[in-house]
Symmetry: C2
Subunit: 393 residues, 2 copies
């Protein structure tokens, strides 16, 4: 079969809050071939990603993403790899391309899985998926008391691991950060895994991060996530040398597998975190997982949005038994929470199981798409390049 | 003063050819403050970059670029650094942001230079600019004969250095590539500097690059540029170990100074090439130049478009005497060739001098903008987010 159509839907909550909650909007991608439909999600700015799908060509290595997708053969996993390689060569100078490509690639896998009646992890060659320990992923409370309450609630819901991040962490005094981390530990209890996410707040300022190491060690924090931006390899490496036993985690900013591998090689990472909706798709996340496994670095998904995105980010390491943690969003907005028919649930022991139904194993609901859809229209020189398609069409 | 307005103009040739010629379109940025105007150019997809300037916020770290620019104080270089830092923090998850920011940042420098009646290199702290040996930068001919003719013509025009790149190089047989390189050397003569640009054609395939090393050595090629994509640090390093005396050059794909510094640290580069219109602007290119200088790596501009872009990319290393080469576009399309009042010329000895007039020292012509302007209109939920502004407005 051949890729016949790729459609993009910009979905958003009615009001977007100025906080680190990435579940407030999404770009959903629909791919069609031979009567079948596949879905994917970009963890990216919807409007900018749409523009990168349809923009006019600038030159031979700066073309719209869809130029390298529409009409392409799609019969086996190698075809997806070929399409990805082609997008990257022909859109090499189009920076946003990797983010838009990610959703397209996921949708191609979903479609192929539905055609083959196989889950994507099976198409990747995994004999079986292993259950993962879900860690509840939340923002810090506005106060330490609020963080304490969140932690208690998470523990009460059966989670044995939790991550707190963003909010004011790293922006105020060291003492305020200490109180936040102490509150998280107190609320979770001593026997749960506690993770802290600094959300790149210190850019590449190693001293600012060092000032918070003591409390992380005292509170038994398993990893400190994204103290710095992904490119700050030197800063990561310098901090890693001082942070033990706290591991450094990062990688979600990678927009191809090589960038993540560079972090594994040169940033002293203990944990690499990959979002299939940003890194170029499931194929790239699978490559990073394999590379991390070979280097003794823990692989974990990055997911803060829907269960479609969650399934996509789990596929690439579903069959790696020793990479046993998984990020699990627990305070998503209604858009992300309600998007899919089928959800990935956490059992009483705090574990999740990667779906075994064909493709991603979950499907977007058309009524939810209709409810949150934003109409977009892009014209260049009077020519309509993009208008939001009909979700029923 | 404060940044009052930022306008973006999408300019393009009437017909865009599917070749590696980046001079076929551009995104021009105009910044206004206190009755003054500054101009910058993004080496990037115009439509996608415009979208990143004005897109709706997705969350706190995925905002439109202009949110962090409009209304900001602009009185000294530190203000530009602060604006850049703010864009990167608040648009961290917006991949295209660095490309759009680049043109904005350049325009802020241009405006500040005009206010201070000083060239940008002076604002950067350079005591004086040093002349650079211009290398004529062209695409390979379609045949070896055509490349031979181009090389002869370049030499006849007084250039003592030239770079040939893209076209079919690396895509066909090793013998065909050998013939191309031999033709370039023959046309230039033995005493000129010959550089070869592979345009990332081998992605990260070291063997494909190794197969071309012999001819590069035999023809005295000074550097092989971009055998691989910027992220392929391992491939670069492995090739560098075999390439001597041919240096490896790369870095134009870097979209912040840290990425380029990582290439210097881990890719075995002999030459780092930075486009101010992509790396985040003149400030980031200055940081890379300083870093390269400290590491014994040669810094050189990347420029294939207008003399506005050329001036911007020269500023960051204008005062570094030992970094003495400069890329000089010689077969630009009329849009890029005619854009500016004032051009950077090459003297009889094959040298260029960085402008010493205020700001960038060259200014876009309004009639050229009018001639090549493409009208763009972007609407979300019925609201007009962007419409091409009046260049006379």
């Amino acid at each position: 079969m051949k890729v016949e159509a790729v459609d993009a839907f910009y979905l958003a909550m009615p009001d977007i809050e100025d906080i680190g909650d990435g579940s407030q909007d999404m770009l959903l991608i629909r791919v069609r071939a031979d009567g079948l439909t596949g879905w994917g999600e970009c963890e990216a700015s919807p409007l900018v990603s749409i523009a990168s799908l349809v923009c006019p060509m600038s030159h031979g290595a700066c073309r719209p993403v869809l130029d390298s997708v529409i009409g392409q053969p799609l019969n086996e996993p190698a075809d997806i790899h070929r399409i990805v390689t082609q997008v990257r060569a022909r859109s090499a100078d189009l920076l946003q391309a990797d983010h838009a490509l990610s959703g397209v690639e996921i949708a191609l896998w979903d479609l192929l899985g539905r055609k083959e009646h196989a889950p994507i992890h099976e198409l990747l060659g995994f004999a079986r998926p292993f259950p993962k320990t879900a860690y509840a992923s939340v923002l810090f409370g506005e106060t330490a008391q609020e963080t304490l309450n969140k932690a208690k609630q998470i523990r009460g819901e059966g989670f044995n691991a939790a991550k707190f991040g963003w909010g004011s962490f790293g922006r105020g005094s060291v003492r305020e950060d200490e109180q936040q981390v102490e509150a998280a530990r107190e609320g979770l209890g001593d026997d749960a895994t506690l993770l802290i996410d600094a959300g790149t707040v210190w850019h590449d300022d190693v001293e600012a991060a060092i000032a918070r190491l003591d409390v992380l060690k005292e509170c038994g924090v398993a990893w400190l996530e994204e103290p710095f931006v992904s490119s700050a390899l030197r800063a990561y490496r310098d901090l890693a040398a001082l942070a033990s036993p706290v591991l450094l985690a990062g990688g979600e900013g990678s927009h191809n597998h090589l960038m993540a591998e560079n972090m594994i090689d040169h940033a002293g990472l203990g944990v690499v975190q990959i979002d299939a909706g940003r890194v170029g798709g499931i194929g790239d996340s699978f490559l990073v997982a394999r590379y991390a496994d070979g280097k003794g670095v823990q692989f974990v998904n990055h997911t803060f949005t829907s269960h479609l995105a969650l399934s996509a980010s789990l596929q690439g390491y579903a069959g790696l038994e020793t990479h046993a943690l998984a990020e699990y969003p627990v305070e998503s907005r209604p858009l992300a929470r309600d998007l899919t028919d089928g959800r990935i649930t956490v059992d009483e022991g705090g574990h999740l199981t990667v779906p075994t139904a064909p493709g991603l194993g979950v499907t977007p609901r058309i009524d939810v798409i209709q409810q949150y859809m934003r109409d977009v229209e892009i014209k260049v020189s009077g020519k309509l390049l993009y208008r939001t398609p009909d979700p029923l069409g």
